[in-house]
């Protein structure tokens, strides 16, 4: 009855059933906030009585298995990048990524740090990036609403990009970990992916 849209079905978005399911998906977004940087500070006001994101069905969750959205709240160092990738890969589909602040776009104030990545989108697919240093709670709430619209319209498909272009992401990840050297012995991720043909981004 319920079926995850496989890659072939990607274009059949106008089916009624998908619209119905998308409605439920957008109305119940559970987020896993990976609190890497200062952006996490802006989340409590969004969750609590001032802006109250729960009225849209958005709520915090404890583990990646339960979550729909991964929030990367600020700069991410190489060390945390490995954890982010593993966490992202542990999330079941459909999943979305929200990147906070300018750090995740161009490195922000850490742009020339030896240990901080500049563009998160090179390593995992990002659905929405929120500008600002730091973004205001209104901006966060706005991005959530935007994500909900995108889900309803069937546009938020970044997780599929990751599957299709896995070679590209994997190469970037490997280069990052290779250049900076592994922090611990086994830098290799164990997540087994189906090999897809022709990954170009």
């Amino acid at each position: 009855m319920f079926n995850i849209n496989s890659l072939e079905q990607q274009d059949n978005q106008d089916k009624l059933w998908d619209k119905v399911i998308n409605y439920f998906r957008k109305r119940s977004l559970w987020m896993l906030h990976y609190c890497t940087g200062c952006g996490a500070m802006e989340l409590p006001p969004v969750m609590t009585s001032r802006w109250d994101m729960e009225r849209f069905g958005i709520g915090p969750m404890a583990t990646p298995r339960q979550a729909d959205i991964l929030l990367i709240t600020g700069y991410s160092s190489v060390r945390t990048m490995k954890r982010i990738i593993r966490t992202y890969e542990q999330m079941p589909e459909p999943k979305w990524v929200l990147a906070f602040g300018s750090c995740t776009v161009n490195g922000g104030m850490y742009w020339d740090s030896y240990n901080v990545i500049n563009n998160l989108g090179e390593y995992i697919p990002v659905d929405i990036t929120i500008a600002g240093c730091m973004p205001r709670p209104e901006a966060i709430l706005d991005s959530m609403l935007k994500l909900m619209d995108m889900i309803q319209a069937g546009e938020a498909k970044a997780f599929r990009k990751y599957k299709e272009n896995y070679a590209y992401y994997k190469a970037n990840q490997d280069r990052l970990f290779m250049e900076r050297g592994p922090v611990l012995e086994s830098a290799a991720l164990r997540y087994v992916h189906e090999e897809t043909e022709g990954g170009e981004a």
Partner: protein
Amino acid sequence: MMTVFNIILYSLFAILVGLIFLGIGRKVAARVHLRYGPPFYQSIIDVIKLMSRESITHNFVMDLGMVMALTGLIGTMLYIPIAGHIAFESNTNIIVIMYLMAIGHLGMAMAVSASGNPYANIGVSRALTMMLGYEVPFFTVMLGLIIYNQSSSVMVINLAQAGSIWNWNIWQMPIGFIAAEMALQAMMGEKPFDAMIAPAEIASGPMVELSGRYLGLGFLTKAVGVFVETALIVNFFFGGGTSVITFVIKQLEVFLIAVIFDNIFPRYKIEQAVKFLWIFPMGLAVIQLILLAI
């Protein structure tokens, strides 16, 4: 044929009511926090979303366990009279109900343990310890009811309270009611007895590896569990109900008490919780029992 129809009707009713209760509970919690809160049907949306989502399993035991969990709770629910109606011709025995509920707990524990995550096992070990904590006082209260009515049938206890509001057992045995409420708080896993879930500490404990359909089944189990537990209290202390609507309203009332307590208490450590349960509710229950026996 009628029985089959009844069973489907009763289970769907319990699931629906349970989910709406959970939604209302979230709404009330939000109002306690001075928030607007999600719509009352939020839990239904959550379950449908989870069911339609990809899910991750570690092995066959996980599937078996989650189905067993829901099975146990639905089985229990079919055994409980709802405003005098019952899905199945049975004697509505209290001990059967208590033991049938256990199969749900066992199934859930097995499923989450099968994931091999240590957090899940810690959660399960806490949940089972907590179970020993609340089951004993809760049963002691029920023992008082059984001795009082000389019957271990929920239906008989229910019917004995018919008529005036003053026949309700809440007036006959107020101390027992307080003990039962405390035990109920632990039974529903609400604060201060939520050491087994503890999201900030052990990453939501038993649920740590559940995703998609498994978490959805877990939600349904929780919903039916809320229905069963509140229905038991209503049958025991609030005289059941003349119609299904009054019955459900009484249930909601019992549930909301639990929700409000949930939102104003911090969390006990597991051994503190068990000690508390064995001292206060157990003491009250024993006092009630002695009062009844004399």
